[in-house]
């Protein structure tokens, strides 16, 4: 058995020799950003709104995500007439979760809030160094039959994701991140991306699927993307109680 393990390792190594030298994380980042429209175009963006359908355990419901400069976001999901909101204004993460009995805007528990705070409006792959984000090449792997390069993205604030880039197209096929708290702490959540489409020069994935332990948890299909929508930034902040 031991011998066989060694053989398998050798194979990977030999294959590695035959393959072309893998690009560096910086090369991957540069090519990726160029492929999805270029850094300038993304930097010019002030806000986005994406609308679509989320499906979960055979149920479907409409979802809308608005994000803006300053790492603000506002997610609204409508489940059977009940409005669920999760939002973050750069300082405070809050939510409305009727199914948990949270019917008024309420600050998120710290562990959940942390996840919201990790969101970056501007891709982590743009001006990474200046923004204190570290890109690190990690071993790629076959993701649903597609050979990939891996890039791990970390920063001091706790971001830790690994993106897997399609070796041919140089855009992400999957992103792996770890659950930060709760009984599943440390377990890997995989988000698969596809249906990339161009919207006014920018390329965005219009389909995403979240898998946990190999099982699909959510699928999300976007039908509409609005760049620089007219929004009132107050929407991101938790409404004051009357």
């Amino acid at each position: 058995m031991k011998k066989l393990f060694t053989l398998t390792l050798m194979l990977v190594f030999v294959t590695g020799l035959f393959a072309q030298k893998a690009p560096t994380a910086e090369e991957i980042a540069a090519t990726y950003i160029e492929n999805i429209g270029g850094a300038d175009a993304w930097k010019a963006l002030k806000a986005t709104t994406m609308k679509g359908t989320a499906s979960m355990q055979g149920m479907e419901f409409p979802i809308s995500i608005t994000a803006a400069e300053g790492d603000m976001q506002y997610v609204e999901v409508n489940v059977q007439g009940q409005k669920i909101v999760q939002a973050y204004d750069g300082e405070t993460a809050w939510q409305i979760m009727p199914f948990q009995g949270i019917t008024e805007p309420t600050e998120m528990p710290e562990d959940q809030a942390e996840q919201s705070k990790e969101m970056r409006f501007l891709s982590e792959f743009i001006d990474s160094k200046e923004r204190g984000i570290t890109l690190e090449s990690v071993e790629g792997k076959e993701v649903e039959g597609t050979p990939t390069y891996g890039v791990r993205v970390t920063d001091e604030k706790g971001i830790d994701h690994t993106y897997y880039f399609d070796q041919e197209y140089m855009i992400p096929v999957m992103m792996a991140s770890s659950v930060k708290s709760g009984p599943q702490k440390g377990a890997v959540v995989e988000t698969y991306m596809s249906d990339y489409q161009e919207v006014e020069g920018l390329v965005v994935p219009m389909f995403m699927e979240v898998k946990f332990n190999g099982s699909t948890m959510q699928k999300m299909t976007f039908s509409e993307v609005v760049l620089n929508p007219e929004i009132d930034k107050a929407m991101f902040s938790m409404p004051k109680k009357d």
Binding site: P98, Y192, E198, V210
Partner: protein, 1099 residues
């Protein structure tokens, strides 16, 4: 147009594919990439490469795991008898967190004291030896693989693994070649300092054994105690009050296919270090001065001077339990009990009450405990499964005890007088599996120390512990139902005790043959082979001779000479065991192990023996040919584990061999196409695990399945290439497999994770080189069957803590092969019926096989609110889709692919198409009435609210508005029941009557009753009146009011179509409903907050 940086990037160029730039292969800076020539060159190169790849695809077909795509295996348990547990570890800070190590079923974790247990080690070898939680940081958990209880059927490990997050993720940290780890001790204050007792190879000599120490969390190891290449460390005890002090039990032992030797060259002994492993002293004072075997040792946590040891010797007077009161300097033998010295290789573990050094418990055939320093022992609750391997005392309440046995985990709160079983650990160890042809088909098999059982492969609400029925006890092996005599199930227990179980009476008749005068005594393997022909007319049974019966085992014809090597050196079962004779039939050798009659020719029968003979007869046993010598690369005497005579060709057969019992871990798989004259090695050189079973698909001869000690391998090209199948299939030994032909299911007997079913062979059958060379292909799917009623009220309320195996999903499946992962442009599925778009579904995007599931029922109706429970539950499920053919369109970028799927009724279904259609039609009528009422109710509400909000200046108009508001409110309230307590104070109005009728019709799939039809008509007529009144109000009083109002203030409402189409305006959410449905939804959502991850990715 690629030229300038400022130009918008164009996604699709004229070549029709996404011409994204490849990475900068020229090695230059990124500016080089903007050179249009470079781009063009790269694009061209890419195209060329793609073209070349397409050309070569056909000739270079290779089976890959990615091809299997969305297929997932289904683990159906069972947990009713659970399986062998080798070790337990409990979080010292929180006794509700327990890690369970199974002999062959991996590591399971509970954080709810067994309420829920989860497997957390599926990607690694499943044989577990030891688990240790670091006391100073309980997120750090170490697992040593390779079970230490060295029975004949034991698996192998691959070293030590570490988790830093309470067992969620694991990393190998070395000692890979130790094969089995008996113990791990972690320093109480430093999570990075640990000692490992490595037993080493069981079946051959090796040097990676003894006590190892790491001071850096497993990055580096030092071997701190080593005797020789045949002596391993079998137990380790650290003094929790002084972690520099450790006691190690060293054990010389060896197992071979035909014998076991505990004691071996006599190097066993008990050692002590007081300097963290730098130096060791052998402890002898008061211990038997003779050849020793396996020793178990523990230090009392409450008094470091007190130790107990279980010591194996070859003398009845000296073997047993010893106690030391001076930290090992001297020892005295203590009280005896059958279990103090029984079967040391299997039962040497002991445990001391952490709060009282005089209370000690020991594992044995039964667990025993003494409360007076070991003078007098009593047995634990006899209701617990025999064969104890680990015991844990709760330091906070030492009457609280957990034990691990051959039959799972049990828990006591009264110091062992009574135990309750954890009924949710499906770590059952099957040896074999068979299926019948019932509907649903049933699965049969025998298990290590757990008898023979069967259960349906599908059961309402899932396959529960109570679905499993036992046919015989002992260790179970082959078990199968007679193909034509429904009441007979053949089962056996160890060493050839074959029985014919009669389900009508529950009686089992012993039917093995006996040796006749002049014959050698019969030698039956521990796991003796039984085989029945497909037609049920010929039953075979193997000792060293092959027997055949034509009367279901009542009498036998011997149809072979001794088919084994008959080597007398390997026939010493009665002497096996070393110091402790262990004559259990487990080492019976030179026996027949495999029998297989060709499904195409009853005269062609294969027999394989445990000592490496492969024999075949082509004339029903008149003459036999030994063919193993023709097999290239196969060492002599390699155990034959499985023979699969091809279902397609009588001259073809596949055979697996297994040499692990002599230390040869290679994967052996051979194929003959000339009846055994010549053989080809078709094993995957990269496969891991010794070979245990092989099957050829019954339809596609190129589709092969290989079961090894480390999982399932599949070949799509007749064995030329193989890939592991990992989707929900752990690295568990697959001892046997069978294909249920009617359902096209591969049913696997795993030795540690129960029965695992791969439901979708029809898809694998189509993954041929021809299909995979195309970009996209729909696969043929067999018709999907309409489901049953919702079955409300079924099941029991057993609480948490019992296992339920999943059923195959009932959804209709759309399957396709996608050559490359979809990346650009939309990809989704539309389902059409009779020219009408029924549903849009997200498509699978991955390379390989994709499965999209279409629910066979439509959405539940939109309904008016109610506070009546039954009415609410009634409308929670949608009607079935009608039987028939559905058109499927898959839109992928600019292309559209089309296919059809069929929805029908299973042949022989009690509820035929016509009856189901009658049910559906009537249900749809109530469905439409329900939605109409929802709309009317909603409109009344809108009218009421708008009329109320009006503040017209004219008094008359205000009067009209007031009347309308009042009338709308009153009529609305008359339609539904909203008062009451939602439980026992409930009323019923039209809404509730509809809901109740909907419930009654929808919960039964067949023809509705006459009364239901009558009630549906009454409700429909009632609805007509409601609607007439509603329309009249809108057309008269509301219209009249609107005429008086200026535009912009007029009362308005959505059309029915708009109301039904709107996603969020349904008003059916009562309080009970929210609780009911939100539970499952939010359980998963909480682990994964909506939106957050998505937003992250968009930028």
């Amino acid at each position: 147009m690629y030229g300038a940086e400022t130009q918008p990037f164009n996604l699709l160029c004229t070549c029709g594919r996404a011409c994204f730039k490849a990475r900068c292969t020229q090695g230059g800076t990124s500016t080089n990439c903007y050179n249009p020539l470079t781009i063009m060159r790269q694009t061209f190169t890419l195209l060329l490469l793609a073209f070349a790849a397409a050309l070569s695809a056909q000739s270079e077909f290779k089976t890959t795991s990615a091809l299997f795509g969305d297929l997932r295996a289904r683990q159906i348990g069972p947990a009713v008898m659970s399986g062998r547990i080798s070790c337990l570890a409990v979080n010292p800070e929180d006794a509700t967190t327990v890690f369970v190590g199974a002999a062959g079923g991996g590591v399971w974790r509970t954080t709810s004291a067994g309420g829920q247990v989860q497997p957390v080690f599926d990607d690694h070898p499943q044989s577990i030896g030891a688990i240790a939680i670091a006391p100073s940081n309980t997120d750090v958990v170490y697992v040593g693989t390779g079970e230490p209880w060295t029975r004949n059927s034991i698996s192998v490990g691959a070293g030590v693994f570490k988790s830093t997050n309470n067992g969620t993720k694991w990393k190998s940290i070395g000692l890979e070649n130790t094969e089995r780890i008996a113990d791990i001790s972690v320093h109480p204050e430093d999570e990075n300092v640990l000692y490992v007792a490595a037993m080493g190879h069981l079946w051959d000599s090796n040097e990676e054994r003894g006590v190892f120490k790491s001071v850096d969390g497993g990055a580096n190891w030092e071997k701190v105690l080593y005797i020789d290449e045949d002596t391993g460390a079998a137990n380790l005890a650290m003094d929790p009050n002084n972690p520099e002090v450790l006691y190690a039990a060293m054990w010389s032992h060896r197992r071979l296919p035909w014998t076991f030797d505990s004691g071996l060259h006599g190097k066993s002994g008990l050692y002590k270090t007081t300097d963290g492993g730098k130096t060791w002293n052998k402890l002898t004072n008061g211990l038997p001065d003779e050849k020793l075997g396996r020793i178990g040792v523990e230090v009392a946590p409450s008094n470091s001077n007190i130790l107990y040891a279980s010591v194996e010797t070859g003398t009845n007077e000296t073997k047993g339990m010893y106690r030391s009161e001076d930290a090992g300097a001297s020892w005295k033998m203590i009280g005896r009990n059958q279990n103090t010295g029984i079967r040391p290789f299997y039962f040497s573990e002991l445990e001391i009450d952490p709060n009282n050094p005089d209370i000690v418990a020991k594992c044995g055939l039964n667990g025993i405990i003494s409360e007076d320093k070991g003078n007098i022992w009593r047995s634990f609750d006899p209701a617990v499964h025999s064969d104890f391997h680990d015991i844990w005392f709760d330091p906070a309440n030492s009457k609280h005890i957990l034990v691990g046995t051959d039959g799972g985990v049990y828990e006591s709160y009264d110091r062992g007088y009574t135990f309750k079983m954890w009924m949710n650990l499906p770590v059952s160890q099957f040896y074999h599996v068979s299926v019948d042809n019932a509907k649903p088909y049933r699965v049969y098999g025998g298990l290590q120390d757990n008898g023979s059982w069967f259960a349906p492969a599908t059961s309402a609400g899932g396959i529960t512990n109570s679905d499993w029925k036992k046919t015989f006890g002992g260790d179970g092996f082959y078990s199968f139902r007679h193909p034509t005599k429904e009441h007979i199930v053949f089962s056996e227990y160890q060493g050839g005790k074959l029985v014919r179980f009669d389900e009508r009476t529950g009686q089992a008749k012993s039917i093995p043959p006996y040796a006749t005068t002049g014959e050698d005594p019969l030698r039956f393997n521990w796991n003796a082979p039984v085989h029945i022909s497909k037609d049920g007319k010929r039953l075979y049974f193997g000792a060293q001779y092959l027997y055949r019966s034509s009367n279901d085992g009542d009498s036998w014809d011997r149809i072979s000479p001794d088919l084994t090597t008959n080597d007398p050196e390997k026939q010493k079962q009665h002497l096996s065991g070393g110091l402790s004779i262990d004559n259990s039939t487990a080492e019976n050798h030179t026996t027949i192990y495999v029998i297989a009659e060709s499904p195409l020719d009853q005269n062609t029968v294969w027999a394989g023996t445990d000592d490496g003979n492969l024999q075949v007869t082509r004339n029903g046993g008149k003459t036999w040919a030994k063919v193993n010598e023709n097999i290239p690369g196969l060492p002599a005497n390699t155990w034959v584990t499985f023979v699969e005579p091809s279902p397609h060709d009588v001259n073809t057969a596949f055979v697996t061999f297994d040499g692990h019992r002599t230390g040869d871990m290679k994967t052996y798989l051979y194929k003959t196409t000339d009846g055994g004259k010549s053989w080809t090695d078709i094993a995957d050189p990269y496969a891991s695990g010794y070979s245990l079973s092989v099957r050829q698909d019954t339809e596609n001869p190129d589709l092969l399945f290989l079961g090894t000690e480390f999982g399932l391998y599949i070949s799509l090209d007749g064995g030329a290439s193989w890939a592991p199948f990992n989707n929900n299939l752990p690295m568990v030994g697959i001892r046997a497999m069978v294909i249920q032909e009617r359902e096209s299911d591969l049913v696997m007997a795993t030795h540690g994770r129960g029965i695992i079913i791969l439901d979708d062979l029809e898809a694998l059958r189509q993954l041929t080189p021809g299909i995979t060379s195309k970009k996209f292909t729909f696969l043929k799917v067999k018709p999907a069957y309409l489901g049953s009623g919702t079955g409300m009220g079924m099941g029991d309320f057993g609480g948490s803590g019992t296992f339920v195996g999943p059923n195959q999903p009932r959804a209709a499946r759309i399957m396709y092969y996608n050559q490359r992962r979809h990346m650009f442009g939309k990809m989704y599925v539309e389902v059409w019926k009779d020219g009408e778009l029924l549903r849009t579904l997200p498509a699978g995007k991955g390379a390989g096989l994709n499965v999209v599931e279409l629910p066979t029922s439509i959405e539940k109706p939109k309904a008016a609110p109610t506070n009546n429970r039954m009415a609410l539950f009634g409308a929670l499920s949608g009607p079935n889709l009608p039987a028939g053919v559905y058109d499927v369109k898959l839109i992928k970028g600019k292309e559209t692919f089309e296919t059809q799927i069929e929805l029908t009724v299973e042949e022989g279904d009690v509820y035929g198409v016509a009856e189901r259609e009658a049910q559906r039609k009537l249900l749809m009528q109530v469905y439409n009435d329900t939605e109409e009422l929802a709309w009317i109710y909603d409109t009344y509400e809108k009218v009421e609210k708008q009329a109320e909000a009006l503040m017209p200046e004219k008094k008359k108009v205000a009067e009209m508005a007031k009347m309308i508001a009042e009338s709308a409110a009153k009529t609305k309230a008359g339609l539904v029941f909203l008062g009451g307590d939602f439980y026992v104070d409930e009323g019923a109005r039209l809404r509730e009557e509809m809901g109740n009728l909907y419930f009654d019709i929808s919960t039964f799939p067949g023809k509705p009753s006459g009364s239901q039809m009558q009630e549906a008509k009454r409700i429909h007529d009632e609805m007509a009146k409601v609607k007439a009144e509603f329309e009249s109000m809108l057309n008269t009083s509301v219209a009249a009011l609107n005429e008086k109002l200026p535009e912009g203030q007029r009362i308005s409402w959505p059309s029915k179509a708009d109301f039904l189409a709107a996603e969020s305006t349904g008003s059916d959410a009562g309080s009970q409903r929210q609780r009911w449905k939100s539970n499952t939804l939010w359980k998963s959502a909480l682990a994964n907050p909506l939106g957050e991850t998505w937003v992250q990715l968009l930028h």
